[in-house]
Symmetry: D2
Subunit: 356 residues, 4 copies
Amino acid sequence: MAPRKLQVGVAGLGRMGKRHALNFHQNVPRAVLAAVSSPDAAERQWAEENLAPHGVAVYESYDDLLAHAGLEAVCVASATSVHADQAIKAINRGKHVLCEKPLGTTVEISQTVVDASEQHPELKVMCGFSRRFDASYRDAHAKVQQGIIGRPAILRSQTCDVLDPSGFFVAYAQFSGGIFVDCSIHDIDLALWFFGEDESRVKSVHAVGITAVEPNLRKHNDRDNAVGTVEFYDGRIAYLYASRMMAAGQEDVTEIIGTKGKLSVNLLPAENHVRIYEPGGIRQELPQNYWGRFQAAFTTEAIEFTESVLEDKPVPVKLRSAVAAVKIGAALQESMITGCKIWFDEDGNRTPKAQL
Amino acid sequence: MAPRKLQVGVAGLGRMGKRHALNFHQNVPRAVLAAVSSPDAAERQWAEENLAPHGVAVYESYDDLLAHAGLEAVCVASATSVHADQAIKAINRGKHVLCEKPLGTTVEISQTVVDASEQHPELKVMCGFSRRFDASYRDAHAKVQQGIIGRPAILRSQTCDVLDPSGFFVAYAQFSGGIFVDCSIHDIDLALWFFGEDESRVKSVHAVGITAVEPNLRKHNDRDNAVGTVEFYDGRIAYLYASRMMAAGQEDVTEIIGTKGKLSVNLLPAENHVRIYEPGGIRQELPQNYWGRFQAAFTTEAIEFTESVLEDKPVPVKLRSAVAAVKIGAALQESMITGCKIWFDEDGNRTPKAQL
Amino acid sequence: MAPRKLQVGVAGLGRMGKRHALNFHQNVPRAVLAAVSSPDAAERQWAEENLAPHGVAVYESYDDLLAHAGLEAVCVASATSVHADQAIKAINRGKHVLCEKPLGTTVEISQTVVDASEQHPELKVMCGFSRRFDASYRDAHAKVQQGIIGRPAILRSQTCDVLDPSGFFVAYAQFSGGIFVDCSIHDIDLALWFFGEDESRVKSVHAVGITAVEPNLRKHNDRDNAVGTVEFYDGRIAYLYASRMMAAGQEDVTEIIGTKGKLSVNLLPAENHVRIYEPGGIRQELPQNYWGRFQAAFTTEAIEFTESVLEDKPVPVKLRSAVAAVKIGAALQESMITGCKIWFDEDGNRTPKAQL
Amino acid sequence: MAPRKLQVGVAGLGRMGKRHALNFHQNVPRAVLAAVSSPDAAERQWAEENLAPHGVAVYESYDDLLAHAGLEAVCVASATSVHADQAIKAINRGKHVLCEKPLGTTVEISQTVVDASEQHPELKVMCGFSRRFDASYRDAHAKVQQGIIGRPAILRSQTCDVLDPSGFFVAYAQFSGGIFVDCSIHDIDLALWFFGEDESRVKSVHAVGITAVEPNLRKHNDRDNAVGTVEFYDGRIAYLYASRMMAAGQEDVTEIIGTKGKLSVNLLPAENHVRIYEPGGIRQELPQNYWGRFQAAFTTEAIEFTESVLEDKPVPVKLRSAVAAVKIGAALQESMITGCKIWFDEDGNRTPKAQL
C-alpha cells in the first residue's frame, strides 16, 4: 500500500517560485506537486514545458490554484507584496501554507497572517526562514544549546548578494520592503533563534546605508549597502551587513560569539571542494546566488513542512517569529532612511528614548 | 498519468547495503525500492522494521530477490567476494545491475562480469565508482577538459578512513582484496578518468606498506597504511596513499597537477560550514566516514543509473573501467606484499622489466 | 667605517615597553638602544637583568632618560595617560619621538602633541599605528591603490583580544580611554588610511556595548564588547567590533569592500602554518596577543622610524592622523555610554543632527 | 662595552649568495658581514654597489676571502659542485662553516666534509637545512616530541618550485645533482628529523619521474616532476614529490601522520594574510620562491649558527645528517633514472634485495 502523499500547489513562478516548484516535484518524497499558478504568461509557458508533462496543473489565477481538486497545501512564492494576501486566502480555504519570507513588509501586514492562522489552529502555517533548515546553522545552533560557547552575546551576520549589473534590484526594491526587510530578515531571524526567541526583546536599532553602485535605489528609499545594529534588553547585540554588490558571489556569513567561544558559519564561502591553482594564486569559486548556497536547506524545509502536515506535528518555525523579524527589519530600514536611532521599551513599543 | 518508475532490489544490507536501500527508497524519485535481501538475520530484522512498513519485500535468499515479481534492476551491495557472482546471476535473469566497487578482487573475476554484460547489451550494468558522481570531482574533471590546467601529468590521491579501534578492518581484510583493491581503487579510477581511460596504459606499479596500528592485518597479506606509485606509458604518474588510521575523520583528497595549473579536491575536509573557536584554536569537524563525504554522490549515482535504464541511455561509467582499475589495484597489492616493482608492456601484459 | 646609528631610549617597560625595548635592541640594525626608564621597580629590575649587561642605561625618571648623553630619539611606550606629556617633553628637549598609540584619550590632549611637533619641524614625531607597517595590510592598501576593488565603500574591522580572566582590563580601563580609544583606534586608523585621510570627513558615529564577562568595567564607563558604526560624508561606512573575550586568541580582522571587489586581511587568524588533525577535527592555533600577530610590523615600524630620522625623510604616518582617529574613537566611546548617535557637520564640528 | 660580533664572509653571490649576504648584513645582530667573494664580475659589481659602501670587502677569489683579516666564519653559498671543496678549505684555514645544502651531490663527496670537520672539533660546521629553523616546522616537531600524534609512521613531503619558463633549471641541472638531491633533500632531511635521525635506517627507495615541461632535462639525467618512496627498517615510510612546474607559486607542504593524529605544515601556502574577492572567486597569493617561504628561517639559521660559534655550543643540526640525506637523495635519483628499486641492508649497504 503506497503511503499518502501531500498534494501541494506553488503560487508564483518567478525566480524563487520555479525553484520551489521543482523542489517539491523532485526532492520531497512525501509530497506531490499538483498545481502551480502565475499571472505571468512567460512563467506559465515555462511550467507548461517543464511541469505539465509530469501531470502538474498550470493556472493563471491564484484562486483557481486554490480551487484545484484535492489540493491540501500551498507554497506562496510570489512577490513579497502579495505574500500576506495569498497566505490568508489559502488559510481561509483550509489549506496549509508554507510562505516565503517575509510575510509582509510591515509588522501590521505580517500580523494579519498570524491572526488568520490563529483562527485555524488545525492548519500548519510556516514562514520559510530557510537558514533554520541548513545543516551548518543547525549544527551551530545545537552546539550553542550544548553550551560550548557559553552564553551567546554578540551575533554578526551578513546577507550579501553578488552584483547584478542588470539593475534588477532597482525595480525589485519598490516592493521588497528594502534591503533590511528583504535580505537582513534572515540575519535578524538568526539573531532571534540563537539568542532565544522568547527572551529577545529589542531595545534599540540603528542603521546607515549607502548607494555605492545603484543610486537609483534612493527613489525607493533603499540602499545597496547597509549596516545595522540591534540591541536587546538582556545585554546582547546583533550587528548586520547587507549588500547587493559582492564581486565573487553569494556571501552569507554568521558569527555567534559567546562568553566561552565562538562559532562561525560559512566564513569562507565555497561552491564546492575544488581549489584552482593558477598564476596569481589559489582560487576558490563561490555560489553565485542564495539558492546555490541554500538549495539543500530549501529541500529540508519542504520535507519537514510536508511531514508536519502529514503527521500533524507543530511546524519547525513558529509563525510569530516572522512578525518579530519584520518588526526589527522595518525599524532598521526606517533608521537607515531617517538617520535616527529607534528605541523600544520593554513591552516592545516605540519610545522616544529608552532609560539607560 | 504517473510516470513509470524503476523497480529496484538491493542485495546485501550491511553497512553499505543499508545506505543503498535507504537511498533508493528516499532520494530517487524515478525508482521504487521493491525488495531487499540479506543472508544475515539481524540485517533482515532491520529491514523488517525500517523498509517493510513502506511496502518493501524482504528476502533471505538472493535468488528469491531476483525472482521478485516486477523487479527490473538490482543494486549489488553485498560483500566484495560475491559481487561478481551476484551481478552475473542478475544479468542472466535479465536484470539491470548497479554493482558496488570492486567487481571482484582479481582481474579474472572482474572480467567475468564484463563478459556476462557483453552477452546482454540490452541490460545496463555499471560499477559504482561513486566519486565520478561527486559534484566537486565533476567540476574538476570539467575544468581539466576545458584545459585550464594544461595537460594533466601527476595525480596524487588518497583514501583515508578514520581509525576504527574495533578491529573491524582485520576481519574485513580477508575478503576485501586488500587496501589497494578496497580503498585505492577509487583513486585508481580517478587517475584513469582524469588521465583518459583510453590513453592510459600502465607501465609500472610499485608499493610499500606498513602495519602501524593493526599488525594482525599481516595474516591476510594486508597493511593499514600503504603508498603506491603508478607510472603510465604516456609520461604520467599517479601516486596514492591509503590509510585506516586517520584521527580526525575521512580524508579523501585528490590533486591533479597539469603543465599549466593544478586542481585540488577536498584538500581540507570539512563536515559542514561551521568553525569552532575555543581555547586551543579554531577547529573544523570532518565527515567520519565515506558516506558522510559522498552521500550526495551516491544519490546522483542512483538517479543517473535509474535514468539510464528508464531512458535506455549508456551508463555514465563504462564497465570495463572497473577491470582496468582492479588490474592496477591488484598489482599494487602484490607489489606491496612482495616488495617487487611490477612492469607491464605496452599491450598490458606483465613483463620482467619494461624497456626504458 | 661603521655607519652612524641612532641612539634611542624607551620610556615605560610594561607589557609593550619591554617589547619595544627588545625590538630596538635586537631587530633594528641602524639603531642602538641606549637607555630605558620606568618608575616601576620590578620593571627596572627586568631591565637590569636583560638590558644593562648589553650596555643599556636604566633610569627611574623619565627626565633622566631624556638627559642621557647622546640620546637622539625616544620611544614612548608608557601608560596612555602620560603619552602626550612625555612626547611633548621629549620634543622640547629636541628628541625625535615614536609614540605608542593613542597620543591621548581625547582630541584636545592629542592635539597638544601635534602642536608641539609643529613648533619643531626639524624633529620626527610619529604615532605608532602598527598595522600600517604590517606586510598584509600594506599589500591590501597597495592593491586598493591599484584599483583592483574599485572604489572602497565599506570597511569592516575588528580588534579582539583573548579573554584575560585575571581582570587586568578592568584596572587598565581607568586610563585607557575605553575600548574604542584603546582597541578600535587601530580599526579607525585603517578606515582613514584605506578611505583616504584627506577625503574622509566623519558625518556620524553610533555605538553600543555590553559587559558580557566583566561587569566591573562599567565603573570606568567601559564595556567588554562594543560595536560601532562610522559614516563618512563621501558615502562610505566603517563598522567596527572590539572585544575582550575571545576564546581562541587574538582576532584582528579587516575587510575592505569596494564596488568591484573585496579584500580581507587575516580572516582566519593562524599562529603559523601548522594544522593539527585529531579526534574532533582539524585545528589551527592562533596568536595569543597583539604582539604575536604584529611583531614583524613593530620591527618594520622601528626600522622605518629610525630611517626617517637618519635620512631626514618624512615619517611614514602623518601625526595629525592620530588626532583624527582619536576624535572618532572618543565619539564612539561617548555614543556607547550615552546611547546617543553623534553627528558632525562638514567642517568636523559636533552638530545636533546633520542635514540628510 | 659593545659585545663581540662574529666576522663572517659569504662565498658565492648568485641567487642564494646575495640573500645570505644581505641576511648576515641586516638581520644578524651578533654578526658582521666582513667580506664576500664571487668569480662572477656581475655579481661582484652588485656587491660593490650594495655591500662595499657598508664596509664589506669584495673579492674575486675564494682564497682571498679566506685570507681576509679577522675573518672567523664562512657561509658557503656557491654552486653545489664546489660546496665541499670550499667548506673543506675553510675548515683547514680554521674557519667555522655554514654550508648551503647539499654538502655534495654524492655520499662520497659529502663525507669528505664530515671527515674534515671531525679533524677540527674546535670548529662549528653546519649544513643549512633551512626548514629545521622554520617556526612552523619547529612547532610541528615539538608537538611530535610531545606525543600528540602518537608514533609518526608516514611522512608526505613535497618541494615544488614555480615554473620558470626561462629554462634556467636545465642548465642548473648539470651541477645540481638532480631533482631529488637538489629539491627533495629538504624533505628527506625532514623525514630523518621527524622519524628520528638515530633510528632511521633506510630499507629501500624507489622513484619515478617525467619531463612534463622540460624534455631537455633528460640530457642531464634529470626530470621536472618526480615521485619517490623511502621505506625505513622500523616500519615507517616517507613519500616525496618534487616539481619544477607549479603555476601558482612555491608549494612546500609536509604531512606527518602518526598513530594518533596528524600534523600538516603549509598545506595551503599563502603569501600573507590577504584574500582577494573578485569575479571568479576568492584568491590567495603564494610566495613565488623558496626564499619567499623561508626567509625568516634563513635568518634564524644565521642567528643560531652565529650564536653556536660565539658561545661555543653544538650546532643545531648535526653534520652527518647531511650525508644521510644525500645518500637517500642520490639513491632516489638513481632509481628514477634506472627504473630499479634500490635496497639497503640493515647496515646501510646496498644489497640485491632485502629480506622481507
